[in-house]
């Protein structure tokens, strides 16, 4: 090949400059975030420790702990997963495997796309009226979990549909060829194959939900709870609510507690994201191999 192709042509400098600008645009937010994370960690450092994780909230910032909020968040997430995951997977199966294209199906699809973009605080208003007032659940764990479930549902449905779509069509035809009915095919072949993909998507959705503050705030969940919830009807606090409670206080000591809470929250979120990524990587290796 001729060397002409390698000699610089006018315009090459602009290209290089643009390349650099693009790279900076990508790096800048990552860098800013890194600095902010470092800032939070410095704020949180004096407070982080076993006592913080196992302590209860206190009027005195240096004694404050997050145990009730941590347990509240764990219960909330478990309940939410128990409610949202079966419904979400069921809806995804309906849309991918049963629904015929038509007005109703496309209405459901537009609706799900729109629900995914409804501000989360409006889910809080829905939960407040329907679960707290009409169904008389009170400001309980159950009301909180139901509200978060509705919030998560669009995300669970979308990731489950993606997972169902990765199962090759030939497998479905093979099942029908053997004389299987649709439900049996789903139960014995399609679901087991798409489950790892679904789980990785669901973990990501739960990682998002664990930081949701606005709907719980609107629901009237508490930012100061000194006890561990004992039933689904019990009042509760959650990690982000506890942090919000601390941020809203003027004393500087509580800002340290808030920073420490944020470090715990981010650690949980990163841990869940890590599991989801690991699952996805394992899955890719399996389908390629």
């Amino acid at each position: 090949m001729s060397d002409d192709l390698h000699t610089p042509i006018p315009g090459a400098t602009t290209e290089r400059v643009f390349h650099a600008i693009g790279f900076l645009a990508l790096l800048l937010p990552l860098l800013v975030l890194f600095v902010l994370f470092a800032g939070v960690l410095t704020d949180a450092w004096p407070r982080l420790g076993w006592g913080f994780l196992t302590g209860i909230p206190s009027r005195r910032p240096e004694l404050a702990g997050i145990f009730p909020a941590l347990v509240g968040s764990a219960y909330l997430m478990t309940l939410t997963a128990v409610i949202a995951v079966p419904i979400g997977i069921g809806a995804a199966i309906y849309l991918e495997e049963y629904a015929r294209p038509g007005a109703l199906t496309s209405l459901i699809e537009v609706n799900i796309a729109n629900l995914a973009g409804v501000p989360s605080i409006l889910y809080g208003l829905l939960g407040l009226e329907v679960f707290v007032r009409v169904l008389h659940l009170g400001r309980s764990l159950l009301a909180g979990a139901l509200t978060l479930s509705l919030l998560l549902l669009p995300m669970v449905i979308m990731t489950s549909r993606e997972a169902l779509r990765t199962v090759p069509h030939a497998l479905r035809e093979a099942c029908y060829g053997l004389g299987a009915d649709r439900f049996r095919m789903l139960r014995l072949v399609i679901l087991p194959m798409s489950l790892p993909g679904m789980i990785s998507g669901i973990i990501l959705a739960l990682a998002r939900a664990i930081g949701e503050t606005a709907p719980l705030l609107t629901l009237g969940a508490l930012t100061y709870v000194a006890f561990v919830p004992d039933s689904v009807r019990s009042a509760f606090s959650a990690l982000p609510l506890q942090i919000f409670g601390w941020i809203s206080r003027p004393q500087a000591g509580f800002h340290e507690s808030a920073a420490a809470g944020i470090v715990v929250l981010l650690a949980l979120m990163l841990f869940m994201n890590g599991i989801a990524l690991w699952l996805r990587a394992r899955l890719q290796r399996r389908t390629h191999g």
Binding site: A25, L95, G117, L153, R184, I247, L265
Partner: protein, 304 residues
Amino acid sequence: MKPDLARDLRRPSAPSERAAKLVFSLCAAVSLLTTLGIVAVLLQQTLGFLQAVSLRQIFADVWWTPRFAEPRFGIWPLVCGTLLTTAIAMIVAIPLGLLAAIYLSELAGPRQRRLLKPLLELLAGVPTLVYGYFALTLVTPALQRVLPGLSSFNALSAGAVMGLMILPLVASLSEAALHAVPMSLREASYALGVRKLPTLFHVVIPSAFSGIAAAVLLGVSRAIGETMVVTIAAGQQPQLTLDPRVSIETMTSYIAQVSLGDTPTGTLEYKTVFAVGLCLFTMTLVLNVLSYRLRRHLRRGERA
């Protein structure tokens, strides 16, 4: 494959087949019920609100003071606060998000993309409460050193941090749109002797335009509905101003603020929250539906 799988699959059709379809369709119906529920709850309370307050009081007044002894219900200060923080957020998110998308889709090597894309997605997973803390305790004090008139609650740092938060959404959706542009278009352009940058600006970006517009609209919708950053960092003072240095109140932070107090059910103040919620829902619904239309257009183009 298990040897008995074929036998299991071949068993005669069970009544479970029809029951299964029913159960699955009920699951899908939950999503429709959720939307209906949100609309019904917001409308019902808003109608109650409108019985006490006329539309003129809402749209012709410039003061929002529902908790005063002589309450006034002009919605404009809340709308103005919302639009101000949204505008600041988009000034940050649109250029940076688009450049990041262009870089990831067109300029980065496969190794860079594999590393940078998950990092960017991680940014989108950081809880909004955490961004609120950043804005209040780290960004505002830093900005106050440069801008002496900046109040400790202000629209500027809330909006800027919100922009940082929305950036990954704009970037990843735009990147998908750029990625969907067929390679043959680029190759045709190169074959005509057009260099990479003109190809990018005259061929690739125009082809991906509807997808990019969808990403921007969704970003705006997200900024309008975002609650925690503005509640924590922008303050609670509804005023009709375009000055980003002072404290304002957005629609979402008003809802959050009233929820924090113990407002008795059925009072006018309780109902205002739902009226503001309906306003918020309508604004985001329009943006979401527009964005969905544009994205569907994109997917159809990809198949052709």
